[in-house]
Symmetry: C2
Subunit: 233 residues, 2 copies
DNA sequence: ACCTGAACACCGTTCAAGT
DNA sequence: ACCTGAACACCGTTCAAGT
């Protein structure tokens, strides 16, 4: 069985199998031999479709980026940019949370990945339409990505170990044992993400008021359009 | 030379050599054999001092965390918490930027790493002293870490490739070629970090006013103590 | 206690050979 | 064009042996 008349592999099939493997067993479980076996071929076959293993993992990461919803940037009023950013951030985080093991790859800059670049491009375009100067629009895309990928990667939930004896209260007087319970940790992640996202958007709205809204054709000067509730408690 | 009378290795010596190797050639360059060779011993010797390779990399990451300045949380007025958070964030980012290759390890939650936990503990304690409820103080420590590690990890500067043909303007209409120049990229990282940090702190100050300052013994109700300049442009 | 060499079960990648 | 087995130069880790 040297060359079959119909190709056994395709880039899509490889990415699909790699994604499943990453999700099920983590990044370390992906070896070219193991992945090939999962696809019923021998190891070197993969090199007919990808230049190397890193390119496969990049494609897996990009498939996740492709699932990020970008529709809010086209559909809504450009002046609702905080609401659009909010919804986008939530969708982005949801996509990453569904595939936590690939986040380390995805977090390392957009690189050459098309879907990652498409995301960056959409945010930038929407911020420019909202009236932000080009430089600031770029910053916003970057800083939002920092926060979102950082939260998906450095989650409290994954960071701690389920061994209570590992954290001596004498060493960390403020880190109560309560933080170390598994379900409490997930609460921390949710709360920290929501709190941080709200702060980020409120802070950006403040900068918008001070630099963009004043002196442009923008309708009202006060309150901008902070759609997301500024405080929920 | 089976066992020398004076040990050839120590945890510190191993961590030092591993740090140097990571900084010079990246994470992939660190193999137990290579690291051992650098130290003048054979591969398996390392296992007398660390349980496995991951523990070595954890120790390298923790050594970076240990360089983060925490003095601002003890020295300054607790009500100056935004200024303290700001200075801490800058110091944290500087420490990570000096050792970019280990950030992926460090970003994956504080885990068992003592210095990482000490950082989390210091921030939490300072926020509680500033009057934040325990839950919010935890969130602040987590969300700041998200942003800082995210910015160190997903930097624009490292994310792009120095091959102009890789980015067809037809595919990404808003991503101007100017963004793709190496020095421009570093500007983006700096600007995005500063803009994001300012937004984060402004937004948190807003939440502080609305939830903490009102109804407590806090001195003034308006303005809190936003030391960092709210706008520099 | 702390180092060694040998060994085990793996890796990523290249390449000539097959159709 | 697309798959194969063989081969190369590596891995992380275990373990008996040495002092």
């Amino acid at each position: 069985m040297a060359r079959p008349r119909k190709p056994l592999l395709s880039r899509d099939r490889i990415v699909e199998a790699a994604s499943a493997l990453v999700d099920a067993e983590g990044l370390d479980a992906v070896s070219t031999r193991r992945l090939a076996a999962e696809l019923g071929v021998s190891g070197p076959s993969l090199y007919n479709h990808f230049r190397n293993k890193d390119e496969i993992l990049d494609a897996v990461a990009d498939a996740v980026s492709a699932q990020v919803d970008l529709s809010m940037f086209e559909e809504s009023d450009p002046r609702d940019w905080p609401a659009a950013l909010h919804d986008w951030a939530v969708s982005y985080r949801a996509a990453l949370s569904a595939h936590p093991h690939i986040v380390p790859v995805l977090a390392q800059g957009p690189g050459r990945r098309p879907a990652g670049l498409r995301v960056a491009d959409a945010v930038f375009g929407a911020m420019v339409r909202a009236g932000w100067p080009h430089a600031q629009a770029t910053y916003i895309g970057a800083l939002m990505r920092y926060f979102i990928t950082g939260s998906a990667l450095g989650s409290f939930a994954r960071g701690f170990v389920d061994d209570e004896t590992a954290y001596d209260p004498a060493d960390y007087p403020h880190l109560g044992q309560a933080h170390l319970l598994a379900d409490r940790r997930q609460q921390v992640d949710e709360g920290a993400f929501e709190t941080g996202l709200r702060a980020l958007l409120d802070g950006l709205a403040l900068q918008y008021e001070q630099t963009v809204a004043t002196g442009t054709a923008s309708s009202g000067t006060a309150g901008v359009t902070v759609r997301h509730s500024p405080n929920r408690s």
